[in-house]
């Protein structure tokens, strides 16, 4: 069950990175974070979120 939820999460995170979501929500310069354009910050944020998700799954032993 928890494994299924994890898969749903990663499919959703993929959707965040492609059209139409990425291209309509994130394909902009403002707001800039630490000077970086939003189009880049957004992708970095998804990577960070996936890292946290994977680390949490690892601690909980999901997928073993």
């Amino acid at each position: 069950m928890r494994e299924r939820l994890a898969i749903v999460y990663f499919v959703a995170s993929t959707v965040l990175l492609i059209a139409p979501v990425y291209t309509s929500v994130a394909n902009r310069i403002e707001p800039r974070v630490l000077g970086l354009p939003f189009s880049l910050v957004y992708v970095l944020a998804v990577i960070a979120a996936n890292f946290v998700a994977l680390a949490w799954m690892y601690r909980k032993g999901i997928g073993r």
Binding site: L17, I18, A19, G35, L40, L44, I47, F51, Y58, G63
Partner: protein, 489 residues
């Protein structure tokens, strides 16, 4: 002798020594040469996974892509964000099954699951085919750097660098690859981050200030479609197709077998994004090149270092960039050579052709294959005027996608059986090669078959999956005992 000579040749001597020492450890059998006796710890696993993936192409190609296509270059980060996640899910199972069944390659595991020498051999042969152009671009990167440092012909430089690689791979096996990857990975991370922060600082007063200027002067490079231009659909296709094949590259996949434990494979998947962040400074360098009007080809990284505004620090920076590019080229090239030689013997000769070779003979044959593969790649590099390596790469990237349906169905779907795997793989590899050849020799006919210009790998992969599922549902599953061996009960 300049600083660059010292750094480059010192580094080559160091990795050579590491390879020799690595070769003196371990049991010396096939499981040792190919999978390091399944004993790699966390540090080795981290760098093996990360450094293998980051090639000379990533280092030279990322800033180049920013210059030529703007924010389209972010697709590399986008697919990396999820591309390696499948390893978290299947990696632990692959590690356990490998130890239980004695498998050391991807094709061996899949061929065993489907009880098919044909699948085993065809996956091996397709892999070697995909490796050649990938290896050639690593050699090209190494040759370019050596030419810049020493003034030698690029082919000579590539031969010297890959002579060193071949020695440490032949002697050290996967342990040689792993140990040197630690050095290469650390070198890449330090140099790339150092440079990526220093260049914007030296030229514009900081990363934020640099982006202020990009926003003012070239805002088109910060959003799609960019100067390429890249349409939304193209961008999406780039990301999705890259995700599909990413975790299936055999030289990365087979590293699951090298881990000390199943849990450790998952840990390397968890930590992988930290390696991904190393692309960020390369994007910064790319944007600096946009402002400076740098060339939109793979020389742009070295071109940036020659900017007069960077003052007298140029030669030192140059030495360390040369070092980092060599490290990136070698950490990918060594894995390709090692995996290619191992796969040629283990999958094509032993698996596919059914030759019953002793462990010692196999290891010896792998060493010979590694040398042959290295020489062949050099030969292709020298004749790459006539053979377009970039074209061949299109085919190379289509191959691992064909392994995805078999790996996933094999690990998770009880109904998947021998005929379905044989049919799916044949259709997938056949369609990929067929479409590629058609595209090269008869572009007009190709356009009729592929009116929307979809990626070859995606079309072939869809046909592969469809065939596999249809045949599996139409034929009986494999027997219970066999399925339980693969933990499918």
């Amino acid at each position: 002798m300049t600083l660059a000579h010292g750094v480059v040749f010192g580094y080559l001597a160091l990795v050579l020594a590491l390879g020799v020492v690595a070769g003196r450890r371990g049991g010396g059998g096939v499981a040792d040469f190919v999978a390091g006796d399944r004993a790699f710890g966390p540090v080795l696993m981290y760098f093996v996974m990360g450094a293998t993936i980051f090639s000379a192409y990533a280092l030279l190609g990322t800033p180049q892509r920013v210059v030529s296509k703007g924010s389209d270059a972010f697709y590399i980060l986008a697919y990396g964000a999820v591309g390696f996640v499948p390893v978290y899910f299947f990696g632990a199972r692959v590690r356990k099954l490998g130890a239980k069944l004695g498998a050391v390659t991807q094709a061996e595991l899949v061929g065993g699951r489907f009880a098919s020498r044909y699948v085993w051999g065809l996956m091996g042969a397709a892999t070697v085919l995909a490796f050649v152009p990938y290896l050639v671009i690593q050699l090209k990167g190494a040759g370019m750097v050596m030419s810049a440092v020493t003034g030698w012909e690029p082919a000579t430089g590539a031969a010297v660098v890959y002579g060193v690689v071949t020695v440490y791979v032949v002697l050290g096996g996967v342990r040689g690859v792993g140990w040197t990857n630690v050095v290469q990975g650390i070198a890449m991370l330090i140099v790339v981050w150092g440079l990526g922060l220093w260049i914007p600082h030296a030229l514009y007063g900081g990363v934020s200030e640099m982006f202020d200027q990009v926003v003012a002067r070239r805002p088109d490079t910060l959003v799609l479609p960019g100067p390429g231009p890249t349409s939304d659909g193209q961008y999406t296709a780039e990301v999705l197709v890259s995700i599909l094949g990413f975790s299936m590259w055999p030289q990365v996949f087979m590293k699951c077998f090298t881990a000390r434990s199943a849990k450790l494979v998952q840990l390397s998947a968890v930590l992988y994004p930290t390696f991904l962040f190393f692309l960020v400074p390369l994007l910064f360098i790319g944007y600096a090149a946009v402002l400076e009007g740098g060339p939109a080809d793979d020389t742009v990284l070295l071109w940036m270092l020659e900017r007069p505004q960077l003052g007298g620090v140029g030669p030192a920076a140059f030495a360390f960039v040369a070092f980092a590019i060599l490290a990136a080229s070698m950490s990918t090239g060594d894995a390709l050579l090692h995996a290619g030689g191992s796969i040629l013997v283990r999958d094509v000769v032993v698996g596919g052709l059914g030759r019953d070779l002793s462990e010692r003979t196999q290891t010896r044959a792998m060493r010979v294959s590694i040398v042959v593969l290295g020489v062949f790649a050099l030969f292709v590099l020298q004749h790459s005027g006539r053979v377009s390596v970039v074209d061949l790469l299109l085919l190379a990237y289509a191959i691992p996608i064909q392994f995805m349906p078999l790996v996933l169905a094999g690990l998770y779907w009880r109904r998947a059986n021998r005929p379905s795997a044989i049919a799916g793989l044949s259709v997938g590899v056949g369609a990929a090669v067929g479409l590629f050849v058609l595209q090269q020799v008869a572009p007009e006919t190709y356009a009729v078959f592929n009116p929307w210009g979809l990626q070859i790998g995606a079309i072939a992969g869809a046909l592969n999956l469809l065939t596999l599922v249809t045949v599996a549902l139409a034929t009986p599953p494999m027997d219970e005992e066999h399925l339980s061996t693969y933990a499918l009960d």
